[in-house]
């Protein structure tokens, strides 16, 4: 199976967000970047499918030049090669734009399965993968927690997560697009050997300007203002050192809330 995995690089999980001076984005100067959480799960799933069925895994990203760090990690985990669309100006930052650019970058590629994450940890739009599927004319399934592929029969079953702990199996022909949900399986760490090998693997860099996208007609979302949500807390805050707050809490829970 030939599998393409969308990897987005985002500000890391432990980022203490601060708002940038223009009030429209986060202050990036002291941020460290990592692979978007569910994209890492998508890559893990692709690697498992390759182990089971043979084939090739290609990682695909669009972002600033620095995103090659995440590409290298993907290659170290076991992907065979990378395609990096370089967009240093952030021109393609809306879902339609990203999907249009990724679709254009895939024009020369052949694949059976394309995996994206359910949602990005920065914009959290939860739409890029499905838009990409529609642009490529492929069937899709979202929020997938298990994949059962049958490349010989050119078909695939996917287990979609639903509300309240329910799941739904769906079946579709290949090629197809799935958006993978965090938790689908346990993500591997890159091995030392993997890290060494990754250095020699190919990353094809594609400048955004070289792609045939008619930017005038691409719908665009603009983040006008980014801000901390108002805290509407009615909580009674307990203060003091650990000993003191623990004592106060036990007292409150017993005498005031009467839940102990």
């Amino acid at each position: 199976m030939k599998i393409v995995v969308c990897l987005k690089e985002v500000a890391g999980r432990d980022t203490r967000y601060r708002i940038a001076g223009d009030g429209r984005w986060i202050e990036e100067s002291d941020v460290s970047y990592e692979i978007n959480e569910c994209d890492e799960y998508a890559l893990e799933e692709a690697l498992k499918l390759k182990e089971a069925h043979g084939g090739e895994v290609t990682v695909l990203t669009l972002g600033q030049s620095r995103a090659d760090k995440s590409m290298r990690k993907g290659l170290a985990m076991g992907a065979d090669r990378g395609i990096q669309v370089v967009d240093d100006e952030g021109k393609a930052s809306s879902p339609h734009g990203v999907a249009a650019a990724l679709a254009a970058a895939l024009e020369e590629e052949q694949f059976d399965l394309l995996l994206a994450g359910t949602q990005s940890d920065d914009y959290s739009y939860a739409q890029t993968g499905v838009i990409l599927a529609e642009m490529l004319g492929l069937p899709h399934a979202t929020i997938v927690m298990e994949v059962d592929a049958d490349p010989a029969a050119s078909t695939l079953k996917a287990l979609r997560e639903m509300e309240s702990g329910w799941f739904q199996w769906v079946q579709m022909p290949l090629p197809a697009v799935l958006t993978i949900q965090a938790g689908i399986s346990k993500v591997r760490y890159p091995s030392l050997k993997g890290i060494m090998q990754a250095k020699r693997k190919e990353i094809r860099q594609v400048p955004l300007e070289t792609l045939s996208v008619d930017w005038e007609t691409v719908p665009r979302l603009e983040v006008r203002r980014l801000f901390f949500p108002e805290i509407e807390s009615k909580a009674e805050m307990l203060e003091g050192d650990a000993e003191a707050v623990a004592a106060a809490l036990v007292e409150k829970l017993t005498k005031e809330a009467r839940v102990l």
């Binding site: 719908p219 983040v223 805050m237």
Partner: protein, 326 residues
């Protein structure tokens, strides 16, 4: 006069989903502030009965599409039906609930029609004739106001709970069937069986006390402290999704929109930020205690008692105090 606003109403087993009532409420609000008639739109087989349930709410009309191809959800058929209606009627907005089915459907529709989609919105702003939407970004930690540059209809999905169905204005709407032609639409994706994934040895819905643990615990080994706290409290352990995704605890212990719904008498949230997907599963608890190092963590919004502090200091102190008391 502004172009109309449409709201897609989701339903199952003859019941309208509560999140769709909320989306309708948002539609009423936007229509009141910015003008334009509000129409409800339903897809299904034999959808008239459900459509009539909406007719008692304030909107201009309720439109339904009735077809065997719409009996169960299929993205190709659903997107094709919606597209036929939207291209004929040209509303400026299509609102819907941000539920799993629409997460699957809305981007497909938006791509097919080449119009913008703004997902998981918690509010809107109307200023100087421009409509913008407010939504969460960056792991639910920041809010953003988003402006749209796109032809109509803009598609907007609403976060559950952002508006209250109790505020819906009553009215009397006419109900119309809208014929759609789906014969040419190939069904590529087939629905197979549905399974309940949370069945296991633990049933948190009956627990009187729950200690909830989040990513703040950092590693699996650190869970021992949480187990000890649960023991002295006579509590079950619940978790946020990442803890379960990392395989540190069983899937049945996940609390939230894709996990269990719990309403114990006491819920102690340790190192949980309070993302909406978690909150919906535990906000019915009688008394919520939150322990978190970040004073801005949204978990404090639902807590009765809050402690801004490090769980690695507060939890051991709490265990000690509870033991002394016993």
């Amino acid at each position: 006069m502004s172009e109309p606003i449409y709201v897609l109403i989701d339903h199952g087993q003859g019941q309208i989903r509560s999140a769709s009532w909320e989306a309708l409420r948002m539609g009423q609000r936007i229509a009141a502030e910015t003008g334009g008639a509000l129409h409800a739109l339903l897809l299904g087989q034999g959808a008239r009965g459900v459509a009539e349930q909406v007719a008692g709410k304030a909107c201009a009309s309720v439109i339904y599409c009735d077809s065997g191809r719409l009996a169960e959800y299929d993205p190709d058929a659903y997107a094709a039906a919606l597209r036929q209606v939207l291209e004929a009627d040209r509303p400026r907005l299509l609102l819907m609930a941000h539920v799993y089915q629409n997460i699957d459907l809305a981007p497909k529709l938006a791509a097919g029609m080449n119009t913008a989609l703004v997902t998981d919105c918690i509010g809107f702003r109307s200023q100087d004739g421009e409509l913008t939407f407010v939504r969460q970004m960056f792991r639910n930690k920041l809010d953003a106001e988003v402006a749209i540059h796109s032809p109509h209809p803009w598609i907007v999905t609403m976060q559950s709970g952002a508006y209250s169905a109790d505020d819906l204005e009553e009215g009397q709407a006419t109900v119309h069937e809208r014929p759609v032609s789906l014969d040419g639409v190939e069904q590529r994706r087939r629905q197979l069986e549905a399974i309940e994934g949370m069945k296991g040895s633990v049933d948190l819905s009956k627990a009187g006390v729950i200690v909830g643990v989040g990513r703040g615990i950092k590693k699996e080994e650190n869970l021992e402290m949480i187990r000890e706290l649960a023991r002295v409290l006579g509590a079950e352990i619940g978790a946020s999704r990442p803890v379960v995704d990392n395989d540190w605890l069983e899937r049945e212990r996940q609390i939230g929109s894709s996990g269990q719904n719990v309403s114990p008498r006491l819920y102690v949230a340790c190192g949980i930020s309070g993302a909406i997907q978690h909150i919906v599963g535990m906000k019915g608890s009688q008394c919520i205690v939150a322990i978190n190092t970040d004073p801005n963590a949204p978990i404090f919004n639902v807590a009765r008692y809050g402690i801004v502090g490090d769980i690695f200091e507060v939890v051991p102190a709490l265990i000690k105090k509870l033991k002394e008391r016993a």
